[in-house]
Symmetry: C2
Subunit: 250 residues, 2 copies
């Protein structure tokens, strides 16, 4: 069933007047009729079944009942990603949303192949938010992944304190005695994971990450491009904690 | 170090004359010089360190020594994917190659949103093979993922016999008592995994898959689009079998 995100403040008398954008989607894209049902997600917390009372020009719906539906990954996975090109970032944002990622921080790094222009990014954030909203609706998430404006490398170092563990994907095996699986066994409730840009980390950045206590992890023997590495990580986390218990022989 | 795939037949007297395409890459893209070293992968089996003897107009290299380098996923994971649009298929092929997938079969299914035109596909296969080659070089694979011409649904059913297990990703939880993790615990050496097209499976197809012994598996509570599901699966498989042993308390 089609899902729409709204704010609590939009509910009056058990009825909701949909935005013009959502009304358009209900009318023209989905071609729904009066009496058809949709799912309304309020403030990213509560899910209601609702039926359409009025369609045109603005759709109004009435709440039928609250429904249970928590599809969220039960761990805060925040990806801090070396700044990449817009089209690639849009693709990563869409896929990470579907995979259940909590937040996405683009990070300005020395070897990023793109420059960051603040004024351009303000416009982009709107588009990113629309991508997140649509991907959340289609993947049936309750929560919208938070996409931050690009942060500086120093800011990345300071947000580490908000997480149980901070990791960074690093292909140099020699420093990779640490193991992503071992970390997952500790059942963290929040993970900050850094992934370098296309050009990789600068050695100064690697040293800073280590100095600040970020743990280097390997993603296996093949070298994944920067736009594949975050998908690998969040997929692996979902597999580890969401796909039911293993038949351990312990 | 840059990697190039060649055939055994190209080696004479310990020297290799590179193709004009690879010569162009070495000369113009990588801007290498005589004496620089590259890695040569012969017949997807043997890896040599080689040095450049001659650059222009065709590059010739000399083998220095054989080097050990098996980065292959130690299990044959073959993805059978409901036919999707060309651009999306190219993206999936590139990412699946990096992730270590063994083979990719596009499958003509009832709800595929694209039609299959054989004559168009012949040209596309060439392009797919170039994508696979480049993605293999950058991810440091020895083996080139095999991309098949689209097969019919009935052919999919008959190739099942070549695999230890045949699975299909299916979002209907009611029939999903089976568990992807349980299958992985059996340490299969080959897996055929079917993923439906954008429109999902037709119910007749689901019934046929079940009748032929394909096992339905869930990919977690969120609904992944058809181009994300295969990435999730191969990432999870790599995580399970390549990222070192867990500290099980058994």
């Amino acid at each position: 069933m089609q899902r729409y995100f709204i704010k609590q403040a939009k509910i009056f008398n058990n009825q909701i007047t949909m935005s013009s954008e959502d009304s358009y989607h209900i009318n023209k894209v989905m071609r729904m009729k009066i009496g058809d049902q949709i799912i309304i997600i309020v403030d990213e917390r509560i899910t209601y079944l609702a039926k359409i009372l009025m369609l045109n020009p603005i759709t109004r719906v009435e709440i039928i009942k609250e429904i249970e539906n928590n599809n969220e990954l039960p761990i805060n996975v925040t990806i801090a990603h070396g700044l990449i090109r817009r089209e690639k970032m849009e693709d990563v944002i869409e896929k990470l949303t579907e995979l259940g990622t909590y937040a996405y921080y683009p990070v300005i790094m020395k070897r990023s192949s793109v420059k960051y222009f603040e004024e351009r990014f303000d416009k982009r954030i709107e588009r990113f938010e629309r991508i997140v909203k649509e991907a959340s609706e289609q993947s049936r998430r309750l929560k919208l992944m938070n996409v931050s404006l690009p942060i500086k490398f120093n800011e990345l170092l300071t947000i580490k304190k908000d997480f149980d563990y901070a990791l960074f994907a690093y292909e140099d095996e020699e420093i990779n005695s640490n193991n992503f699986k071992t970390i997952m066994q500790k059942k963290p409730s929040s993970l900050l994971i850094v992934i370098g840009p296309e050009g990789g980390y600068d050695l100064v950045e690697v040293q800073q990450l280590i100095d600040w206590g970020f743990i280097p992890i390997s993603l296996g023997p093949r070298i994944l491009r920067t736009e594949v590495a975050p998908l690998y990580l969040v997929s692996a986390i979902s597999y580890e904690i969401e796909l039911g218990e293993k038949n351990d022989k312990s």
